[in-house]
Each structure stands twice: as structure tokens, then as C-alpha cells.
């Protein structure tokens, strides 16, 4: 595999990892053709990776009014606000794939305000950027507004929790020097 430096921390060999993580890596390899570097970098602390991923994976489950693609939009909007290389490249790819539209995926990644989004997703992304950049300004009016645009209370909560989660993962990537897999760049183009 690549000799490239993907982390500022040591990266364990895959075969030294606990069974559950080896299973996770195998599944990723089957689905994507490679193991996302986020898994390899975070395997430096295997129990943390397991616990984080058990939480994280719940957040991308689609619901009636918040599709998988729309959840990826939240990921890239937060990651652009934080300027996170790893997440912009990897979730930019995931968004292109989820939309089946590479141009719209890139546009939302770079500047969702100019991507011609409908009212619901424009409001959702405005809100997650506010929650990222000036979280004290959030108010109950934001929640009401998103509900009026068709989200259930559970889906508004998802918007919040996804945004908060990428504020976690962006910073893990920033501080560990996590580099995105080269494969992402040409995915879904």
C-alpha cells in the first residue's frame, strides 16, 4: 500500500488490530475498494475508534425528510467552514456519489449558497454554519424555522448532531495530520 505519511501519529499495522476493527476495515474495502484513512489513523487508539464509529454511523442513516445526500451536505458545509482537507475531500466524494451529480456535489462543497439549493437545505446549511462559527447565536427560533420547512423534531436534532459531530471529526483530522486517500479525488466524477 501507499508509503505516504497519513498521520502525525503512529499508524498500527492492520493485522495487529482487534477483530472488530479488522472486520470494519474488511467491510470498507469491500464497499469502497480501500480503507478510509480516518479508520487507519484513528486505529492508533482502537477502543476510541470503535466507540466513535458506533456513534458516528447512526448519524448518516437517511430519514423521510433528510436523505443520505442531504446529510452529506451538512458534512461538507461544516467542513468548509472549518477548512478541513480530509473531510472536504472524502465527504465531497461521498456527496458527489450520493447525488449522482459531480458538478452539483462540488458546488455545494465549495459554496452551498451559490448551488441553487431549495429553501429547506439552504436554511439547514445556513444553520449548521452558524452552529459551527458562532454557536452562542443559536436560538429556539432556528428549530421552529427548520420544522416549518418540513423537518420533524428528530430530524432537526439530526441536523444539530451531524453538525456537532463534524466539529469533532474536523478537529481530529486537523490535529492528527490526517491525509485523505488518493482514491477519493476521482470517485464519482
Amino acid at each position: 500500500m501507499s508509503d505516504e505519511n497519513i498521520s502525525w501519529f503512529p499508524v498500527p499495522d492492520e493485522d495487529e488490530l482487534p477483530d472488530n476493527l479488522r472486520g470494519l476495515f474488511m467491510k470498507a474495502r469491500q464497499r469502497l475498494g480501500f480503507v478510509p484513512n480516518v479508520f487507519r489513523v484513528m486505529s492508533f487508539r482502537p477502543e476510541r475508534l470503535s466507540a466513535w464509529f458506533a456513534h458516528y454511523k447512526q448519524l448518516h442513516e437517511p430519514t423521510e425528510n433528510l436523505s443520505a445526500a442531504e446529510r452529506e451536505m451538512i458534512a461538507v458545509a461544516v467542513s468548509m467552514a472549518n477548512g478541513c482537507l480530509y473531510c472536504l475531500v472524502s465527504h465531497g466524494a461521498a456527496l458527489r456519489e450520493a447525488l449522482g451529480d459531480p458538478i452539483q456535489g462540488d458546488r455545494i462543497t465549495f459554496d452551498y449558497q451559490r448551488a441553487g439549493l431549495g429553501e429547506k437545505m439552504h436554511a439547514v446549511l445556513d444553520y449548521v454554519v452558524k452552529l459551527t462559527i458562532s454557536p452562542r447565536e443559536c436560538s429556539p427560533l432556528d428549530i421552529e424555522h427548520l420544522q416549518r420547512l418540513g423537518l420533524t423534531p428528530e430530524e432537526v436534532w439530526d441536523v444539530i448532531e451531524i453538525a456537532a459531530m463534524y466539529n469533532f471529526t474536523n478537529r481530529m483530522a486537523h490535529a492528527t495530520g490526517m491525509m485523505p486517500n488518493p482514491e477519493y479525488h476521482s470517485m464519482a466524477r
Copy 2:
């Protein structure tokens, strides 16, 4: 029970919650005398609360060069940078208790730079504030610097992961309107 509004989302009755969460609430009540509102607010989505807490609780385990009190210092420094009422009140209390020194606890909470901290913790807190406010500026030199001050690579990782985690929890608190339990204000004074 307080009638006070502790969340902008519905708060379920405790006896409707799954067993594992009822156990968590009971343990908290035994240890603290009350259930922290973060649990009650987040029980709106019970599986999320379970998954998040399984991850979160790993981060406050003390190690040789990063004590429980020092981990609370990271919590309050990040929470002050984000201006998070819930976490400043609750982890301010936890820090006072962990230090056994209410004055030093408050000082670190309000402005760690003026609390007379030693070189190690001053550097740790400078770093977590940078990771919170301008995460793109993090570099491998930061990691080397903290190791030179006595942290192991695993402990530097803990510094990062705790800081990233409070960037998650602060935003959950900000966006859900989570209010701190009144009990915290007089704890450990």
C-alpha cells in the same frame, strides 16, 4: 423534579427510557445526588445518548501525566472559547471538585492564562484553544512540543480528542438550549 425548561426539545420521562439509560441515571443520582441535564436532554434520542456516552466516558480516565483534573481543565478551556453556559457551569464544578480548590477552579474556568498554571498545562490549554478557534493552524510541532513537556503520544492524542469532544458537546448544548442543573453552582465551594 424541577419544572424548569431544560431543553428546546421534548424531554422524555425517565421511566420511558431503555434499561441501560435508567441505570445510567440511577448511577448519576447515587454519585452526584441528581441526574445531569445533559443526560435528560439527550435522552430525546436514547440510542444516540448511549453511543455518545460510551465514547465520552473513555476520555476522562486519568493517566500518569494527564490527571482527571487536568482533563477537566481542557473541558473548561474549550467551553470558554466557545462560550458554552452548560459546560462552563457543570465542568467548572467538576474542576473545582477535582482540584479540591474552588478558587483555582474558577480562575482556570474564566481565564487559564492568568491562573498561574505550570508550563505543561499552560501549553496544553493554549493548544486546545487553538484547535477550537483556528484548527487549520495545528501542526506536527504542537505534538512534539507537548511530548517534550512530558506527555506520551497517547496522552497528546487524549488532549486532542477531549478538545474535539467538547467542540461536539458545546454545540449540542448551544443548539438544544441545554440548561445546567442548579445543583452545580454551589458544588465544591
Copy 3:
């Protein structure tokens, strides 16, 4: 006497100070049980302390629509915007005392936006934070708005002058390394 370092400048002995300041210290000791460190630190320049205090003390006189507690709210909101340890601790204590409510006092100190304030004081504190952070944005509409909420023109002026004054005192505290008296932390709890 505490041996603690309360200033980055020399702190004169109390008995070397001019009579009027010795009187001021004595009165403070009678009222509070101790001499606030702001007096001890600023006594490095005795005439300045006298002149400043003659001005400052006018600003906390209550009026019909702006009580002593409400004036302390302005002090803590400005001090939080500037991140001033000394003033957050000392005026946080004064606010708890003036309100007779330690929990509400702490909440306003950490985040007045989430303290359930009425419309008048919410607007007053929004305004003093704007005047602190982006003073060029102030306009005559702000003044009209506060008058519509029940303040007289003189009271609107007081709001402004108190806010401007804490922009003075916060910076005196920041630049002189002024440390709050330990007694404040447990006051009015």
C-alpha cells in the same frame, strides 16, 4: 495580608497612601470585609485611583428603570465579551448579591442570552455587547429602541456610560495582571 501576587506592577503599602484612599479602603473593609484588589492595584497611581473612582461610583447608582442589579448585569455582559477574569469574578459576585439569586447571577455572567431575561434587559445587554465588540455599528435606532422598552434618555446614557466604563476597567485589569480577591468566589452563594 495575602502574599499572593495581585498585580504585575508594585503594590504600595496601605499606610503610605493618601488619607482619602485610606478612608476608601476602610469603608470597603467595613462593607465587604476586605479591600477589593482593584483598589490595591490602582493605588500604584493614587491620584488616578481617586479620580477614576469618583467617576465610576456615579454609574452604579440605581434609578427607577435601571436597578443596581441591572447595572451589574451590564458589567458582567461587557466583561464576558472582553473575557476579563477580575471583573467576571468580582462583578459576578456583586450580581449574585444584588439579585439574591446565585444561580441566575451565574447564568447571566456566563451567557445572558440563555438566562431567561425579560425583553428590556435582553435588549440592553445585546446593545452593550455590540458597543463593546463592534462599536461602529451603534445607531440612533438603538437609543430609540431602549427608550421604547421603558428607559429614560438619562438611563440609556447610563447604559452606554457603564458599558464604556467596563471597557476601561476590563483593560486596566487585563494589562496590570489584576487578580480577584479569593473572597469573591464564595460570596452570595
Copy 4:
């Protein structure tokens, strides 16, 4: 009298003012040829004006290593950082006059970093801008640095107190809509 609107608050007639303020206005008229609008605007609250001015006037007294012109430089550097029309115009004029050099006065007012100042005043103005914009970053090293450049501790204190004072007056001007007297614009050119 000008009919121009110089304040968003009522401006009292000069002859309704207390004797001491009428004396202050007369002296100003003798020295400058006009009454600075800061006096007229602040005379809405006469005791405040008296108290403030008794403090303020102490700060512009020259000392061996901090001349009257150098004190005006602090005034304009803080006022540019805050973007204060009244103080930039009035103290810009005062600085031109104190220097006897209108070009250098304007240059320092607009951008002291490009005015070819010596090391001492460059450091002083860097410090007062830091104290204005990010006061939490001040440290004892700043004080040592200014002393090494030739200031006494008392003069370093003056630097701080002048900077803090213009953070007060700038905000009084911003919030009251104080307009500079037309006469300042052509003074000392």
C-alpha cells in the same frame, strides 16, 4: 452656534450648565477658539462630564519619556483600531499640532506601522492596539519590553491607562453620535 446635530442626545444650552463647566468651556474657547463637541455632548450629564474630565486630563500630562505628542499617538492608534470618527478627527488635529508636522501626524493617525516611528513608539502602539483588540493576550512580558525601551513603570502604566481611557471615550462617541467640530479639520495643517 452651529445648528448642526452633534449628538443623538439632547445638548443643553451652555448657560444652563453649572459654573465649573461654564469655566471649562470658557477656557477651551480661549485656548482653541471653540468648545470641543465632546464637552457639549457630555454636558447632558454634567456631573459625569466633570468627573470624567478630572480623570482624563491627568493622562495627557507629559513626562520625561512619554511626551504630549507621544500620548496623542496612543489616542489615535486606539481610535483607529476602534474606528472612531470623533477621536480620529480631534486627536488627529491635536497630534499634528503637538508634532508640528501635519504629514507625520496624518500618517500616524491612518497607519502608525508605516510612519517610520522609532522602536519605542512602534512597540508602544503595537501594545495599545493589542490591548484594544485582544486584551486577554496582554502579559507581564509586554511591561518588561516597554521598560527595556526606556519607559519607567509609571509611564508604562500611563500607556495602559491612556489606551483604556480611549476605549472609554471612543465608545461614548460611537454610542452618542458625537460629531467632531468642523474647526479640527483645518487645524495645524
Copy 5:
């Protein structure tokens, strides 16, 4: 000739310059009495100066609803937002001259929000400051708003292009250490 250092780059002798630039300098000398330092500094790269000026000079041509003075207002508002010494001094002078009103010219230069401008120019200057400071926030509504206030689409474009141009020239001045000619300070007073 002034011996003053007007650039951090070498400044060629005027007689070494290509004919077209010597003509440009001569015309400036006839019109103003001196050669603006922007020409002398930029003549380090003569073809660049020629090309830039051919573009730049188109932007200050007055039209029915956007006069020469109003175009200078855009120049100073952008330059104040960027804090550009050269452009504040030189276009401040040009604005005083274009208005025939030194006081109003200075006021607009320091703070257009307090200069009593009419609705159209207040909106124009708010917009160019937004375009300078937070360009992502621009929207089609801004364009509609300025058209409703009387500008043609071509004039709205001019507002944008002038603002963008001063974001170019301000940075050329900042990075080359361009100093304003002394003559500007007393012009049109």
C-alpha cells in the same frame, strides 16, 4: 525630488521609463503639480503599470447616477475597511476636491455611516464594505436594492468593479510599502 523612501522595491528614474509612462507622468504633473507615488512605485514594472492604469481610469468616469465624487466615496470606504494609508490619504484628498467640502470629505473617509449621507450612497457604501470584508455574503438582492435606489445595472456593475479594484490597489500599496505624496495632505482644505 523627495529623497524619501516611497517603496520597498526599487523606483526607476523617470527618464528611463517608456514614452507612454513619461507622458502619463507629465500629464499628472500638469494636472496635480506632482506625480502620484502610485505611478512612481508601480513603474518598477512598466507594462503592468500601463495595463493596470488603462483599466483603472475607466472606473472613475462619472455617469448620471454615480458622480465622480460618489466614485471616490467607494474608493475611501473600501480603503478604510482595508486600512490602506496610501489610498486613504490620496483618495481622501480627491474626495475633498470632488465634493468641494473638506469636512464632509474627511467624515466620509473616516466613517461614512456618520456623515449624513442619503439613502442611495449609504446603501452603496454598506454594500462595498460587505464586498470587501465578507464577499461570500453578496447576493442578487443587493443588486436589486441598488437598482431600486436609482442606479442602472451598468452603474451597479461600476460599484462592484470600483470596489474590487480598490481591493487590488489597496493590497498593492500595502505590500509594496507605497507612501502617499506629502502634497495630498493639504490639498482641497
Copy 6:
């Protein structure tokens, strides 16, 4: 032709444009296979487009120590600092092509600090971001630093002028609603 809305201003038909612009469009079509939307959008003001382009095209000519690819790096670093969709997409593509390395091109576009650049280009891009975000902080030391890393004075000037130019073009794109051509997204992948 695409029916997509590429501008918030009217876009003229190509055959109504002056000869020189029709020639420019034809050359672009030959070289790239399409006309970049920046030309079509700016043709609303044909003389402006001609003048701007005559200036702009000089800046991308490679020199010994600043290649065509390195000049594109400046374009994307400034455009990321300003968050400009049009320029990130179009110059991101141009950089991928100039480097012949799509992965490195994307990495530099999203975060040049993590792209493993050599000392020279890292310093160049740090400098252009500073010139974009806080232009007042530029100093002669920056120029000396880049010369020590191997640039000639003319090439340092180019660094500055390219950075200043993208501060112009980014704002033209932001304010006109300029949309990138779909073709760019798949170019040089």
C-alpha cells in the same frame, strides 16, 4: 449553449460583442473546448473585459523561479481564503493541469499547508493569505524572506500582483454571481 444562469447581470450574445472579444472567445474555445464563463459574464461591459484581461494575462507568464503551476497555486490559495466558488473550480482545474497531478492539485486548493509543499512555495502561500486577510501586517521583511528563498525582486512583485489580482477577480465573481463552467470539474483528473 447552456441555459443555466451564469450571472446575476445580463449576458450578451457572443455575436454582439466587439471583434477583439469574439477573437478572445474563439481562442479560448480552441484551447479549452469552451469559453470560460468569466469572459461571458464580464462581456456585459466589453471595454472593461478587454482592459482587465490585457492586465491579467501578463501575470500568469512563467519565470525562472515562479512557474505557471506556482502562479496557479497563488490563485487558489487566495481564492480559498476568500471562499470564491468560481475561482476555486476554474483555477483548481488549471492547477491540476499545470501540475499534471490531480491529487496534489486538489490538496493545494483545499489546504496548501497540508500538501507537503517545499519551503519556498509554503512561504509564498503564507504570504498571499496574509496579504488577503490582514494586508496591514505586510512588511519589508516579507519581501526579504521571499528573496532569500530564491525569488527575484520582480518575482516577489509578481507574487504580490497575482494575489492582489485575485482579490479583484474573486470579488467580481462573488458580486456578479458568476458560475463556473461544468467542464472544469472533470478537467485534468
